[in-house]
């Protein structure tokens, strides 16, 4: 984890506005450690791409400073930053062959012929496209173009590589394959990666840490498991993974836990993560796979009866939509490990969950 002194990239108090009225990025403070794979995740318009563009040098912060390896890069033009970048649509130069594309950053740096050819070969071998050097980008498939773009961003050994939704144009299978490939390349090379995506699966697969952006602010910055297991606010809980929300009101605080009243359904024991004082509204966040079906009496603090509204068979699990506590969009994921799951639409069942799986968060 990064400390203040050894941060490789440091945003401090960065703000950005395009029109002088609304802030696209509001007071951004972020430290990225050397060798880290950090993902900026968020919906479109959340400010993550703007942040990346400020780091690359294509946008200037309206306020605040960005440090790269301890040096302020606010006034440094993009070509002097020595940052590799992979663009959303690859941006391979269409009038050059794959090799010429890779040679471009080396020619700019006046790398000698022998050294240059060795580096190009190494980069192409790394993305397993050694035989395609003479082709033009137009003659390659989307996945191959993506790999060339990756090789081009890495061929000049930058210490920092930025990726702006690089897998957005690929189909699902290829995307998952490339995710692992990029992850392995990152592990093999000692390079810092800042990755922008709106795909949470991608972020969870690849990242050391994820910064969840919304509305120009980092909502939570944490490792993938932490983010999923312990979301700090309702936005993160909703954005990462599937989530059941129960709206209620805090009726009692009890140290780390609290009692929340769900109107017309009773009280729920929940973990007090991000709640105000007694009497304030809250949203309970509950992962669908943490809900137990027909718990033994007395084993769980929260037990409610529910009516099954819909059953969807998905092979490895059965997705069951139930009506509980006045919410009819409550989803329960029942693992299919016993072979058959006995739920029928219309049946009345009992469901329950632990206090620590139910997080009381802010009510947006």
């Amino acid at each position: 984890m990064p400390g203040t002194n050894n941060a490789f990239v440091e945003f401090s108090g960065v703000q950005k506005t395009y029109d002088g009225e609304t802030l696209v990025v509001k007071d951004l403070n972020l430290e990225i450690a050397r060798g880290e794979f950090l993902t900026m995740l968020g919906p479109s318009g959340s400010g993550k791409t703007t942040t990346l563009m400020m780091l690359a040098g294509f946008e200037a912060p309206t306020q605040g400073s960005i440090l790269l390896a301890g040096r302020s890069i606010g006034n440094m033009p993009p070509h002097k930053r020595d940052i590799g970048m992979v663009f959303q649509n690859y941006a391979l130069f269409p009038h050059m062959t794959v090799e010429e594309n890779l040679a471009f950053p080396l020619n700019v740096r006046k790398v000698g012929k022998q050294d240059r050819e060795a580096k190009i070969k190494r980069a192409l071998d790394m993305v397993r496209l050694g035989a395609y050097g003479g082709r033009r980008p137009g003659q390659l498939s989307g996945g191959q173009q993506q790999r060339v773009a990756l090789a081009r961003a890495l061929v000049f050994d930058p210490k920092l590589v930025l990726m702006d939704e690089p897998l957005g144009a690929l189909d699902k299978q290829l995307r998952e394959h490339m995710q692992l490939e990029i992850k392995h390349i990152h592990e093999d090379l000692d390079v810092t990666v800042v990755y922008v995506t709106h795909d949470q699966g991608e972020a969870l697969t690849m990242s050391d840490r994820i910064a969840v952006f919304n509305d120009g602010v980092i909502q939570q910055l944490a490792a993938p498991a932490e983010l999923y297991e312990r979301p700090q606010n309702a936005f993160v809980a909703q954005f990462i993974g599937e989530n059941n929300r129960l709206r209620g009101k805090v009726v009692a605080m009890n140290g780390a836990t609290c009692l929340v009243e769900i109107p017309g359904a009773g009280n729920v024991q929940a973990l007090a993560v991000n709640v105000g004082a007694v009497g304030r509204p809250t949203v309970l966040s509950l992962r669908p796979e943490r809900v137990k079906l027909n718990p033994a009496p007395g084993s769980l603090p929260n037990v409610f009866s529910a009516q099954v509204a819909e059953v969807i068979y998905l092979g490895d699990h059965v997705r069951t939509r139930v009506s509980v506590c006045g919410h009819d969009d409550f989803v329960v994921k029942l693992p299919n490990s016993e072979g058959t799951v006995q739920v029928e639409p219309g049946a009345v069942i009992t469901i329950g969950w632990k206090t620590e799986d139910c997080r009381a968060l802010d009510a947006p």
């Binding site: 959303q88 391979l92 130069f93």
Partner: protein, 416 residues
């Protein structure tokens, strides 16, 4: 199962599948043809046929064959060495007599006059005098009436007239002509003008093309990078001249550039010059006016190509370490080449045919091929020369286009 599949595959209702497909495709082709038929007919009747007919005039000339048929028949046996015999002269006398009565002597004279200047009046007077002549022998009498008929070159000319096809007009258009013995020789210096005219046409056209490119490229870049709203406004200003007639735009330049025009007055008032500069009725005026007219035509294809170039290419180049100029020159500029090619090609080809503008704002030494085509068509009524000049201009244009498209690749040229 497999047998049925094969049967279905090869026949359908007893008709082989391939035949069926062909029939359907033919029907669709006929439908498509039917839709383009009106335009096809229009182009054929209003464009291909008249132009083809005019081009044919460049090599086809049967004036002598129709107006002096006897002479032409008699000349077929002539060996071309000495003057022809009495029989040929008698035939000529017969033709001249007939031309006098049918008033076609001037036409014959004019045709001979093209190649032997100064012989028009002699032919007409010969025809008049021959018509008064009693019966032969004609040889001595004709030479006595008109010394022209004792010259060897006029007989070579008449002998060439026995064929309806002549290379004279085309040769003349590149400053060659037939010598006294029908050999091809360079034209005398006073007739040697067309190579200069062609070179001048190509020179002015390439100059104007280069200037429009130099002026248009930065403007196109500006238009392509500005926000849509302001670029639309600028674009209107760019295409505004398109909505004005070429004649008006050219005359406007006369107002601006003439001796006491706005430009000269302003320069003199600012004491930049002490005497009015010669800005019009010379090469400067021609190039300025043509550049103004052609600028949008060079600019628009470049602009439309630039609009399609994603800004991420230059960004990628910058992120890879290229400075602003290097990124522009190695990445952006090559991507605009198809637009540059299309714009320059269109401007260049259109410039080759300029006629009104050089006539209005150029001097005598700025007239391009088209002026000569017009001169031969309207004033001299020498359609052979007009057609020959046009043919050569068309051929040069097509050759340039061909070599150019081989160089750049015609599929890469984007016409707007």
């Amino acid at each position: 199962m497999s047998t049925t599949a094969i049967q279905i595959g090869s026949t359908f209702e007893g008709i082989p599948l391939r035949l069926k497909l062909k029939r359907i495709e033919r029907r669709q082709k006929m439908k498509a043809l039917f839709l383009v038929l009106p335009l096809l007919l229009f182009i054929l009747v209003a464009f291909v046929l008249p132009i083809g007919r005019m081009l044919f005039n460049a090599i086809h000339d049967d004036t002598l064959l129709t107006l002096a048929p006897r002479t032409m028949t008699a000349l077929r046996g002539w060996d071309g060495k000495d003057l022809p015999g009495e029989a040929v002269y008698a035939a000529l006398a017969g033709d001249l007599k007939e031309s006098w009565t049918r008033k076609t002597a001037a036409t014959i004279g004019k045709r001979i006059n093209y190649e032997l200047p100064g012989s028009l009046s002699e032919v007409i007077s010969s025809a008049r005098k021959v018509s008064l002549l009693p019966a032969g022998p004609y040889r001595e009498a004709l030479i006595k009436i008109g010394p022209l008929w004792g010259r060897h070159d006029v007989w070579s000319l008449l002998k060439r007239g026995t064929s309806a096809y002549t290379g004279y007009y085309l040769l003349r258009s590149v400053d060659f002509e037939y010598g006294p013995d029908s050999q091809i020789v360079a034209s005398p210096p006073e007739n040697r003008i067309f190579r200069d005219v062609f070179l001048r046409t190509l020179g002015i056209s390439s100059g104007v093309t280069a200037i429009t490119l130099l002026l248009g490229f930065p403007l196109a870049f500006l238009l392509a990078t500005l926000p849509r709203k302001s670029s639309n406004l600028l674009m209107i200003l760019v295409v505004l001249p398109f909505w004005t007639s070429v004649l008006i735009r050219t005359t406007a330049w006369v107002v601006l550039l003439q001796q006491h025009g706005i430009v000269n007055d302003a320069l003199m008032a600012l004491h930049v010059i002490s005497q009015p500069a010669e800005l019009i009725y010379n090469r400067i005026g021609t190039v300025v006016a043509m550049t103004h007219i052609q600028l949008p035509i060079t600019l628009l294809p470049i602009y439309s190509v630039m609009r399609t170039i994603s800004p991420s290419y230059v960004r990628a180049a910058r992120s890879l370490g290229a400075g602003p100029f290097y990124a522009f020159w190695k990445v952006y500029f090559p991507l605009t080449l198809p637009g540059i090619a299309a714009g320059c090609l269109m401007t260049f080809i259109l410039c080759l045919g300029y006629y009104i503008t050089p006539a209005l704002v150029g001097g005598p030494a700025d007239q391009m091929v088209s002026s000569f085509v017009a001169h031969y068509t309207n004033e001299e009524l020498n359609w052979g020369m007009a057609s020959a000049l046009g043919t050569i201009l068309l051929t040069v244009t097509l050759l340039l286009y061909y070599s150019f498209s081989n160089l750049v690749g015609v599929d890469r040229v984007k016409m707007g």
